[in-house]
């Protein structure tokens, strides 16, 4: 009898079977079927958007208008409408550039590195994170393009034969940056698009004939899901993941070279590349959570984007945040240990008696202290706490770049050159405007494209395994949650919160 209790195949097995005890937490909760997954995700695109969507996009579009105005003013007047001066030649512009570029890195980490390491939970977040990457890189690209001052000369960055027969200086990290960021953007778009093709086909097949069907059909490229397609597709997807993994590490490394290869004390350190990469992933994950927790709630994606996902991502934030904290402390230690007077002085200005000491402590609190609450499971399970910590991290990562760039430059080698840096209203509104731009693009993405990779999430359902036996579910008493026909709005039974069009099922 003792034998029988442990053998799940034994006809007289009692109690929870061994298989159930050892069962991993499922990636999709409530035994959702494939068609439920299709309906739920496509429903976001097909149903009218909830009110919240409109409440957010209208101010975002207004902010984009403000941003466009600020850019027009900058280009028509000159780069002097921004705050940079001598010695602080890089102000908010480069701070914002590094900030936005860093945000993007979590997307590639989720889509590429977690794919290669077979972290299947990534399927619920990778689409949104990749979209976020692309939009963040678009925001990032605006700043260096505009801070060159004469925007109409920005094409000088590209190695194009010109009438002066002058070529770019390929030994400069700034040119490496041009190549790194543009490659990163292009490869991210390719990766994102390739992942979208099967899901666009799903949307195409659900549409009634018309403009929508034509548009989705055009971008779905005639996808038929044949295994003679899938076998190339999977290899291509894996290769893109393998290519993106070193790429994402290289991009922020090259960004950090902009600083590390200079001779400015406080910038000239070898710790910058790993420290920047860890910081980028840290800040990016916080942004993914900042976006996805509301999306999960508004569109009722609780079964697909589960607490397990949030828990995993909070742990990554804790890990990378701690790496960043280590880098901060190591920087201080090396400043003293190196014996370089200038280096030591730069850090004394930064943490003890400089004019921007407050910014350093803001950064330290937001990036190192705040994420430490994620050591506790209770805190990782409390979405309010998670959101607050993510907000701290978002702010903290911006402060990090500000501290590195502005406070270092404000205290140069010669005391006679020292000056404070004050952002102008144009700069401030440009930065706020890019948030509007970012959010607007993300909301448009939610409106027209599947926010979760439908084909990939079906691939992690238990029944997608060709060796899956339907009797397993019965044996383990796993009961499917009730589903309604089509999960379309009109077929849905009345819910207590019927006003919210995309509410979660009870």
């Amino acid at each position: 009898m003792a034998e029988a209790a442990h053998d799940p195949h034994h006809p007289h097995a009692t109690g929870p079977s061994r298989a159930k005890v050892l069962l991993r937490e499922p990636l999709v909760l409530n035994q959702r079927s494939m068609s439920w997954v299709t309906n739920r995700i496509c429903g976001i695109v097909e149903n009218p958007q909830p009110k919240g969507w409109w409440y957010i996009i209208v101010p975002c579009v207004a902010l984009v208008a403000v941003m466009v105005f600020c850019f027009t003013y900058l280009v028509s007047t000159g780069v002097g409408v921004w705050g940079p001066n001598h010695p602080v030649a890089w102000g908010w512009d480069i701070t914002n550039f590094v900030f936005w570029i860093g945000i993007g890195h979590a997307g590639t980490l989720i889509s590429a590195i977690l794919y290669l390491t077979r972290q299947k939970w990534r399927t619920a977040v990778n689409r949104a994170a990749e979209a976020m990457t692309i939009f963040a890189v678009m925001c990032a690209g605006l700043f260096p393009a505009l801070h060159v001052g004469r925007v109409w000369m920005a094409w000088f960055l590209a190695p194009i034969p010109n009438s002066n027969a002058i070529w770019q200086n390929f030994k400069s990290p700034l040119l490496w940056d041009v190549f790194a960021v543009s490659t990163y953007f292009s490869v991210s778009v390719v990766f994102w698009f390739l992942g979208l093709v099967p899901d666009l086909a799903t949307l195409r097949d659900r549409c009634k004939p018309g403009i929508r069907k034509m548009a989705y059909g055009l971008f779905a490229l005639g996808w038929r899901g044949g295994n003679r397609q899938w076998r190339h597709y999977e290899i291509a997807y894996g290769l893109l993941a393998a290519l993106s993994t070193p790429l994402v590490l290289s991009v922020h490394t090259v960004v950090s070279f902009d600083f590390a290869t200079s001779i400015v004390p406080g910038w000239h350190t070898t710790i910058f590349p790993p420290y920047f990469v860890a910081g980028a992933i840290f800040g990016g994950f916080a942004m993914v959570l900042t976006l996805m927790i509301p999306v999960r709630k508004i569109y009722g994606l609780h079964d697909l984007f589960t607490m397990k996902h949030i828990d995993n991502m909070a742990k990554i934030i804790l890990l990378t945040g701690t790496i960043v904290g280590y880098a901060y402390l190591m920087e201080l230690f090396i400043a003293w240990y190196s014996g370089s007077l200038y280096e030591f002085d730069a850090f004394k200005w930064r943490i003890l008696h400089g004019p921007y000491t407050w910014a350093y402590y803001c950064m330290f609190f937001c990036n190192v202290i705040a994420p430490q609450v994620f050591w506790f499971k209770k805190m990782r399970e409390n979405l309010l706490v998670v959101m607050i910590v993510c907000m701290f991290v978002n702010a903290g990562m911006w402060y990090e770049r500000f501290v590195i760039i502005c406070t270092t430059l404000a205290r140069d080698f010669l005391p006679g050159q020292w000056d404070m840096y004050h952002p102008s209203w144009v700069e401030i509104w440009t930065f706020i405007g890019t948030f509007g731009f970012f959010m607007m693009l993300f909301l448009i993405f939610l409106r027209f494209l599947p926010v979760i990779a439908i084909a990939e999430i079906k691939g992690v359902l238990p029944e997608s395994d060709p060796h899956y036996d339907p009797s397993f579910a019965k044996r383990d008493n796993l009961v499917a949650a009730p589903s309604y026909e089509g999960d379309r709005l009109e077929n849905r039974p009345a819910e207590p919160t019927a006003v919210v069009t995309n509410a979660a099922p009870a």
């Binding site: 490869v187 099967p198 490229l221 076998r231 291509a236 290769l239 060796h467």
Partner: protein
């Protein structure tokens, strides 16, 4: 108005689970069919073996793309910095020994060229994009992107026969078997 000419594309059979279509694919492979395909909402693990397909040769093309990328980047930098317009900036000399400063761009272009080769070669191998395919005429086929699985045996297969293929598909568990035609 004349009756449109039609050409038989093949037989399409529906399956309701990955498990069913997997075993059906194994039997179709063993029956010796060659022009056929399994359509599924997601890539079914192990389906290449079940269909008797070899591993995709895509990586070879991507390797070539990468080599072209790294060569392009090297030549772009070496020719412009050392041969055409040698410039000494920040005391960095203009000769082959500065190759270390060329590595970041060489790396980036390797990735860029490889990624685009992967995308375009993949599309060519998948015979995409195309605006139309006879399978889209089959009413049930649109469920392939939802939760149904299909096996389509094409008429150009030498073993195809109007009766035998139909009964074969029914025998391996296919339901809703229909003849897919293409308007000419």
């Amino acid at each position: 108005m004349s009756t449109p000419l039609k050409r038989v594309h093949g037989y399409l059979a529906e399956f309701s689970s990955a498990r069913d279509v997997f075993h059906a694919a194994e039997q179709t492979r063993d029956a010796g069919y060659s022009s056929w395909d399994v359509h599924s909402p997601f890539p079914v693990h192990g389906m290449d073996d079940a269909m008797g397909l070899p591993r995709s040769i895509l990586p070879r093309f991507v390797l070539i793309g990468g080599i072209i990328g790294i060569t392009t980047a090297f030549l772009l930098q070496y020719l412009t910095q050392v041969v055409i317009y040698p410039t000494v900036v920040q005391a960095k000399p203009a000769n082959i020994y500065t190759i270390a400063a060329f590595f970041p761009v060489m790396f980036e272009l390797t990735i860029l060229f490889s990624a685009f080769t992967a995308l375009f070669t993949c599309l060519v191998m998948m015979k995409l994009p195309r605006l139309h395919h006879p399978l889209f005429n089959a009413p049930s086929f649109s469920k392939f992107s939802d939760d149904k699985f299909f096996i389509c045996i094409e008429a150009r297969d030498p073993k195809f026969s109007a009766e035998k293929t139909k009964s074969f598909l029914a025998g391996i568990g296919g339901s809703n078997i229909e003849l897919v035609e293409d308007e000419l």
